[in-house]
Structures are given as structure tokens and as C-alpha cells.
């Protein structure tokens, strides 16, 4: 299905990452936004608020982030593509209801413009320290999808991808950007609507008498209905059976949680995306994502000039993690160098997937700025030794 031209601002623009996220949402068909302003994400909400009246969307500034996340779930079940945006402290507040969205299998998109933390930290400066929270922040077992843009252009493109993944797999999808990308202004090309592929909601084709809200299709994802279409519907955060009714038993829990996890894990190869460069002869592979991937490229070029065989694996989809690829590479190389603006998050995932066959070296950074390429170069040299 192609995008609705009404929401697509076709043309070449000079936009910051936050505004590009907003345009990505509009192009993907987002028509409901609920959020609470927080630096450095507020510009996303501002632009949505400005543009929604032109496309017939609903914008609500909620009382807080708990309510915002809840409103996304309600709007999604009412048939709207829904989205919110936040940063560190707000992300923490959204965690409980993010789990509710995962449990109820609610398509929705949440953009986190990461800033330095913990707590209120550095509101106007970048960080990448919410990456593990993105994966594990809500309680219980569930799988999530997260994608990480490195430029305003990718903010636009990846928010569309996020909506599509969200509709396809019926999970909340997180767009993990950061203050640097959010407030950086670059050229953004918005294609015509007929070139933008949009995944429609998986509405049931069954009559009301045969429809069960949580009976999965062969790909493990159940069909949805829209409130008010005449179907009987029950959905809850409690463990539920195919009818959507609570069942307090280990058997039902096993069936449900296993499916929530496996619908993503067993299809991870379809979801995972990464880019590789100069991997073939590499002794060292730099792993990075988001803004850090751009900075890393400069360090890699410097290292190559010095004759070090170093390649680059840039994560686009960060969750699910490219476990198999890291394991394959670990057998061939000496070490991974992981560049991220935190004191160690995705590096543990690299380490886990390397199964002890290659070292995983972190280039740490507390946040507030991006890495100095010289610091990355130093770790590449250390890794190559």
C-alpha cells in the first residue's frame, strides 16, 4: 500500500532530525499523537501539532508520559496509527505502559531523542545510554523492535520503517535517536507519496462470529479489529487466551509469552538490518549505531591510512540484535571495538554473541558530546595488536 499523499511533504528540505521524525510519522500515516514536552524531543511534538490540522490528525498534550503512552494504545485500538516522542526521564515513565502495549500487541511508535542521563542529566546534550532500557525497560518477558537513525534523512526514513514494522509484527517500535541527530539540520529528501511503501493494519477478514482477537496467523501475529466495527473484543494486560480473556495458569502464560517472544525471535532475520563496510579482510570490526556510526567512520578512515585492517558494522535495527552475524565475524577477527555514548550497553550484547571468540572493546563516553575520533582510533590500534 502507498502513503496517503495528504501527509507527505514531497520535496527537498533543510530540516533538523526532530522535524524530520515528525514528517516521517505524517508520511507513514500517523494521525494520532499524544505526548508531554521534554527537551530535546519537543520539536517533534511542535511540528506534529502544527501539521496535524492540515491532515486531520489528533494531537493531545497529556498530563505526563504515563498517560501519553496509554493514549497511544487507546488510539491504536480505535484504528489510528499513533506515535509519541520523549527523552530519558519521560522514557522511564513510559516503561510500564510500553509493556502493556507489548502485551496487548498494539502497533505504535515511540521516538526517544536520547540525552545525557541518568535522571534529568543533560537535557540539551546527546547520549546513547537508554539502549538497554529500550530492550529491557518494562517488566516481564517480551520482545521489542528498535531502530537507530544517524541523520535527519534517516529520521524521516526510519520513522516510516518503524510504523511498518509495528503494523507487521504488532509490537511497539522504538526509534532511538539522540540530541545530536535531533537538533542537527541537514538536507532531507521527501519522495512523492507513491514511492513510499506503507504497511496497512492487519485487519481481520473473518466475520464477527469466527473472530478471536488473539488467535495467531501462521506468522504468529494475530489479526486486529477496529473498535466500533461490530466485533466482540476483549484485551488486557493480564495473561490471556485467544479470546483475550484473562486466564491465570502456567499453561496459558507459556502459550502467550512464548508467542510474544517467538514472533520476533523466529523472524529476526526479516527484521534485522545493518550495514557493513570493508569487512572482508578485517582484523578488527567497529560496531556502532546512530550518531556514533558517523564519527566512527572518520576514525576507521584514519586507521586504514595507518595500515590497520578495520571494518565497520553499523546497526540500523538495534533490537533484535544481529546475533548470528556477530558470531560469524567473531570466528574470523581479533576484536570488536564498540562505539557508543555510554559506559557500556550494546558492547555486552556484542560480547555475548562473540561467544569468547573475539574480544569486545568499548570506547566509553559519558554523554554530552560525541566521541573524539582520536579516542576511537586509539582503541582500534589496541584491538589490532
Amino acid at each position: 500500500m502507498k502513503a496517503d499523499p495528504k501527509g507527505v511533504l514531497t520535496g527537498e528540505h533543510y530540516l533538523d532530525g526532530d522535524h524530520a521524525c515528525a514528517e516521517g510519522g505524517l508520511a507513514a500515516g500517523c494521525r494520532f499523537f499524544a505526548g508531554y514536552p521534554i527537551t530535546p524531543s519537543t520539536e517533534v511534538a511542535e511540528r506534529i501539532a502544527e501539521r496535524f490540522p492540515m491532515v486531520g490528525g489528533i494531537f493531545i498534550q497529556m498530563e505526563d508520559e504515563l498517560a501519553s503512552m496509554c493514549a497511544l494504545i487507546g488510539a491504536s485500538w480505535a484504528g489510528a496509527k499513533s506515535m509519541s516522542v520523549t527523552s530519558g526521564p519521560g522514557f522511564s515513565l513510559m516503561m510500564e505502559n510500553l509493556g502493556l502495549a507489548a502485551m496487548m500487541e498494539t502497533p505504535c511508535v515511540l521516538v526517544n531523542v536520547q540525552r545525557g542521563g541518568p535522571s534529568t542529566g543533560l537535557p540539551t546534550l546527546p547520549g546513547q545510554a537508554d539502549m538497554m532500557q529500550a530492550r529491557w525497560g518494562s517488566h516481564g518477558d517480551y520482545e521489542i523492535i528498535a531502530i537507530s537513525p544517524s541523520s535527519p534523512q534517516e529520521c524521516f526514513d526510519f520513522v516510516i520503517d518503524a510504523f511498518n514494522l509495528s503494523e507487521q509484527w504488532r509490537v511497539p517500535v522504538l526509534v532511538m535517536t539522540d540530541e545530536c541527530v535531533g537538533h542537527m539540520t541537514e538536507k532531507v529528501v521527501i519522495p512523492p507519496a507513491y514511492e513510499i511503501e506503507v504497511v496497512p493494519r492487519r485487519y481481520t477478514t473473518l466475520p464477527p462470529s469466527e473472530y478471536l482477537p488473539y488467535r495467531p496467523d501462521p506468522d504468529m501475529v494475530p489479526q486486529m479489529i477496529k473498535a466500533g466495527d461490530g466485533y466482540r473484543i476483549h484485551t488486557t494486560g493480564l495473561t490471556h487466551d485467544e479470546r483475550g480473556y484473562p486466564v491465570m495458569s502456567a499453561e496459558c502464560q507459556e502459550q502467550l509469552v512464548r508467542r510474544l517472544v517467538e514472533k520476533i525471535r523466529l523472524h529476526a532475520d526479516q527484521i534485522i538490518r545493518f550495514e557493513e563496510d570493508e569487512i572482508e579482510d578485517a582484523d578488527v570490526v567497529v560496531v556502532s549505531y546512530g550518531i556514533s556510526s558517523r564519527v566512527a567512520v572518520r576514525a576507521i578512515a584514519l586507521a586504514r591510512k595507518e595500515g590497520i585492517k578495520v571494518g565497520h558494522l553499523r546497526l540500523i535495527v538495534v533490537w533484535p540484535f544481529p546475533e548470528k552475524r556477530i558470531h560469524e565475524l567473531a570466528k574470523k577477527i581479533k576484536a570488536f571495538v564498540v562505539v557508543e555514548i555510554n559506559y557500556g550497553q550494546m558492547v555486552y550484547e556484542v560480547e555475548r554473541c562473540a561467544h569468547g571468540q573475539a574480544e569486545a572493546i568499548l570506547v566509553p563516553h559519558g554523554g554530552g558530546w560525541v566521541h573524539d575520533p582520536a579516542d576511537i582510533l586509539e582503541k582500534i590500534k589496541e584491538a589490532a595488536r
Binding site: 527537498e12 528540505h13 533543510y14 533538523d16 540539551t124 545530536c180 537538533h183 542537527m184 539540520t185 541537514e186 538536507k187 550518531i291 558517523r294 564519527v295 567512520v297 572518520r298 558530546w369 560525541v370 575520533p373
Partner: protein
């Protein structure tokens, strides 16, 4: 690649000036341009700065490290950033708002009474665009036509014409052989 820092007080249109430079280079000048910005704690009256990296290749590292060009529109901003200007770099400043004192010999300084020229045109708010014209002529970094094209859509519609004129005033200030004051002439 050129690193540019535009700096002055909040309210002078400093960020807008940086934005138009970046927009001109990347949308109409066949170059790549990344704009980042920093603000003081208040919206108006505090030091603010826009940084633009203009390059023929995609910009990787988003921030500037040592600018090739410093545009200064306030004394405070000048004092804060002059030492960071690259050796041999260009300094463009509003001569009525910035007193440079003695400059390192390697700095190439160019001055214009941008705010006064804007006031003579009836509105000091366009001083940033006078400076934009001056910047375009002095640096030769971006084609003037590309910069002109970048003005509509970047300023309120009803002021496009006035801003185009302001651009010409700044641009022609150099062309007409008007004073480009060497720093030692300034007190």
C-alpha cells in the same frame, strides 16, 4: 570542507543566518551542509552560536572543531570564540558591535556596519541578512544565486523582498569597493 561559526546575541537572527548558509549550500549549491546550534540559558540577549560544516563530501563528524570562518555580531561572542579561529581563518564582524583590539596577523578580518546598514533600510532585524550578503561575497564559498534562492521560505513571506534587498546591500558592500577594514584601523 569549511567550518563556519556564526555568533552573536539571541534575537539577532544568528541561527537563521547559519540556517540559510546551510540550506543554500545543501539544497541549491550541490554541497553537503550540517548545521548545529548552541544557545545560552535565555532565549534573547545571551550569546548564541550556529555552526555549519560545508563540504563536497557527506559530513561525518557533525560538529566544528576549528572554524575556518568566524562571523561575529556581538562583543561577547567575539571574545568567546576568536581564539578558536583556525590560523589563516577569516573573521567577519559587525564593526559597530565588535571591537577586535589587536588581532593575530594570520587572521584575515573583514568588517561591515551590518546593523547600521539594516537600520538605514528601516529595520535592524535584517542585519543578519546584510551579514549573509557580506559573507557570500567575502568567502566565495557558496554561489550568490544559491544563497538568494535559500531566502524565501527561511524568512516570513511578507519580508522576502526586504531580505533580498538586505542581501544585496551586504553583497555589494564588498563589490563596490567599500571599506573592508583591516583590524589595525579599528580601536
Amino acid at each position: 570542507m569549511a567550518e563556519i561559526r556564526v555568533t552573536g546575541f539571541g534575537g539577532q537572527g544568528i541561527i537563521r543566518l547559519g540556517y540559510i548558509i546551510g540550506k543554500a549550500a545543501s539544497l541549491y549549491g550541490q554541497q553537503h551542509a550540517t548545521l548545529t546550534q548552541s544557545f545560552g540559558p535565555e532565549a534573547r540577549g545571551s550569546a548564541c552560536s550556529a555552526q555549519v560544516v560545508v563540504s563536497d563530501m557527506p559530513v561525518l563528524y557533525p560538529y566544528i572543531t576549528r572554524p575556518d570562518i568566524l562571523v561575529a555580531m556581538s562583543q561577547e561572542a567575539y571574545g568567546k570564540y576568536i581564539d578558536n579561529l583556525k590560523e589563516g581563518g577569516q573573521l567577519l564582524f559587525d564593526q559597530d558591535l565588535v571591537s577586535t583590539g589587536e588581532l593575530p596577523k594570520s587572521v584575515k578580518a573583514f568588517s561591515i556596519p551590518a546593523t547600521r546598514l539594516a537600520e538605514e533600510m528601516g529595520n535592524r532585524i535584517i542585519a543578519n541578512i546584510v551579514m549573509l550578503g557580506f559573507f557570500t561575497a567575502v568567502t566565495g564559498l557558496i554561489e550568490p544565486e544559491a544563497v538568494r534562492k535559500a531566502i524565501p521560505g527561511s524568512v516570513p513571506d511578507r519580508f522576502v523582498e526586504l531580505n533580498q534587498k538586505a542581501f544585496d546591500v551586504g553583497y555589494n558592500y564588498v563589490k563596490e569597493g567599500a571599506v573592508v577594514a583591516p583590524p589595525e584601523d579599528r580601536s
